[in-house]
Amino acid sequence: MSNQLPPIPHDTAPITMPPETAERIARYGKQGARPISDAVPVLEARDVSKYFGRVIALEHVSLSVRPGEVNCLLGDNGAGKSTLIKILSGVHRPDSGTMLMDGEPVDFQSPRNALDRGVATVYQDLAVLPLMSISRNFFIGSEPTTGWGPFRRFDVAAAGRTATDQMLEIGIQVRDPSQLVGTLSGGERQTLAIARAEYFGARVLILDEPTSALGVKEAAIVLRHVIRARSKGLGVIFITHNVQHALPVGDRFTILSHGRSAGEFVRGEVDQDELLRLMGGGDELTHLARELDELMAADAGAIEAAAIPDEVTPTSPDAPVTQVEASESSQD
């Protein structure tokens, strides 16, 4: 059960592509094919494994990100994405394998330790605290202080000014930095967290499902800031299970399936269907789509038989297969 897909070592050649795939690649390439940097990865997990008791959460997985590059970490639920980013961000320590920064081995003792070294992680649901003000959120754990000795205090004025400036820089005009973050939209909250990471000198930005709970427009705002962070020279690890969000921004795609690496590709080597298939859900989705079409056809037949006027438009059987995403609808 735990091993339906054979592990694909990430250094094997990519799977041969059908002609329509090549066509898509041509299209995706036009959107901004960028030369893949061969610089030393700013952050790299090399052959890491993590076990929780007898459960294999991750086994022999590698992932690296270079400055000015977006590496999309893709995988279905339970593929090990969360475990991997917890290792990258210092929450867990790998049971085996090596972590490297700028080619040097590192050992993150804690998330704070990773943060101090410039690895900032923005978690989907833990990005910000809605009941705290914008300026307080911006500086949690790194509060500017003023004054001396026992009268050293949180510099509220400076925090408010900086937060306002930084938010303006990312395109959100804050008139009152003491306003609660709960008043911001979901996309703006994620954006605030990204801006905070950049402000505090992050070199690697790990974004955990930043677009999953967002509507289309909101997700676009976040994706724009992913690209912006990349052009500033940050290494971005973008975790998602939404291939449509990954393809436009990714330079590199790392796919996890059942705790193992299911391949690593650079932009242009794969298309949406291929990524979906590798994530372990593609075949099932194709099957599901076929089944749904049959049901739909049967249903339409039944309706016609019942002589009901043709108000029901059957969905086109060749409608594009999209990934099933319960969380895609806007929840905030």
């Binding site: 949690i140 395109g171 005009q173 003491s178």
Partner: protein
């Protein structure tokens, strides 16, 4: 990439007037409530012809402010703890237990008052730290951990005191403490216009000012909000979550010890039952003051107004001739109204509907 044009049209924040800002403060509900409660009793007093006496006299004010101060000292500490997302139900029996300890040390063992006071605070801080440690180590809700501590402290207080003195009341404390300058810090009072204002008022003001300053103007205060608003999120950005919680449990225990010192040294006796139900009054004070039961939001200043409501209600009922049996009914109603109002205000402040 021009970000300004991208989001410039999607402006979500409106400009805010100072009034709106005040409305969105957590203590707003408590301030309005305090004014309303005061006015109700004032009107009832005037209707009885009680102008210049009873509720509307300086003696009256000194009396209800003293009650407010006693619960307010606890409320300031408890609101910080509750903002950090934890409860301390043991403060009530901590008042009884640390009071007994102080009394026994002074009367039974002849310990100089100053040293006895220091030892009492040390005991309270240790129990508070233990509460915090137990909460963190076991992962049990602090409600349960401190409920256990409530019973342990109450029971141990009775057990030890009866074993040592064959009584549950230690009296005669003032015989040993007269003329001690340190004791004066807990017992002094000043008479203004015929009303005797106790030093506990000063302690209350100090507690509220310090708690408010810590909460709104220090890094630690930001951590308190963060721990209560999202423990994991706070931990990930490097907030020492456990340390914050342990310090706050120690603070609530210390506030109980402070109240115990004031009571024992003023009344000259310690009673194991002293402080009964004070844990709930402290929570009510905090909640009425705008602190969210689930943590992450609140105000120490608000707890002062919550305490004021409690004090004026408790004595006001007597002053206007309502049977004091009805005090708890009124208190319960005030609590429910305050929570409803605060929930509504918070929803407005956080922009969610």
């Amino acid at each position: 990439m021009t970000t300004a044009s991208a989001t410039g049209g999607d402006q979500r924040l409106r400009s805010v007037s100072p009034l709106r800002l005040f409305l969105s403060r957590p203590e707003f509900g408590a301030i309005v409530g305090a004014i309303i409660v005061f006015l109700i009793f004032a009107v009832l007093s005037v209707a009885r012809g009680d102008v210049g006496k009873g509720f509307l006299s300086i003696q009256g004010a000194a009396s209800y402010l003293e009650i407010a101060a006693q619960v307010g000292i606890l409320g300031a500490a408890v609101s910080l703890l509750m903002i950090a997302g934890e409860f301390d139900l043991s403060v009530g029996s901590m008042i009884g237990a640390s009071g007994l300890l102080l009394g026994l040390l002074i009367v039974q063992y002849g310990v100089p008052p100053t040293i006895a006071i220091v030892l009492t605070f040390a005991f309270a801080l240790a129990v508070g730290a233990f509460n915090g440690w137990l909460r963190i180590k076991t992962g049990l809700p602090s409600f349960i951990v401190t409920l256990g501590m409530l019973l342990i402290l109450r029971g141990a207080g009775i057990g030890f005191t009866r074993a040592i003195t064959s009584n549950t009341i230690v009296s005669g404390v003032n015989a040993n403490t007269a003329n001690d300058p340190i004791v004066k810090l807990f017992t002094a009072s000043v008479t203004i216009g015929g009303g005797e204002f106790k030093v506990v008022l000063l302690w209350w003001i100090v507690a509220v000012v310090v708690a408010t300053w810590v909460l709104t103007r220090t890094r630690f205060g930001n951590w308190i909000f963060a721990v209560g608003g999202g423990e994991q999120a706070a931990r990930y950005v490097g907030v020492p979550v456990h340390r914050v919680k342990v310090i706050l449990f120690m603070t609530t225990a210390a506030s109980a010890a402070l109240l115990a010192c004031i009571q024992v040294l003023s009344f000259g006796s310690a009673d194991v039952l002293r402080g009964t139900n004070k844990e709930f009054e402290a929570i009510i004070t905090a909640v009425v003051g705008g602190t969210l039961l689930t943590g992450g939001y609140g105000s120490a200043l608000g707890s002062a107004f919550g305490a004021f409501i409690l004090g004026t209600t408790q004595l006001g009922i007597n002053f206007v001739g309502i049977n004091s049996d009805w005090y708890q009914v009124v208190l319960g109603a005030v609590l429910l109204l305050a929570v409803l109002a605060n929930t509504y205000l918070l929803r407005r402040a956080s922009g969610s509907r």
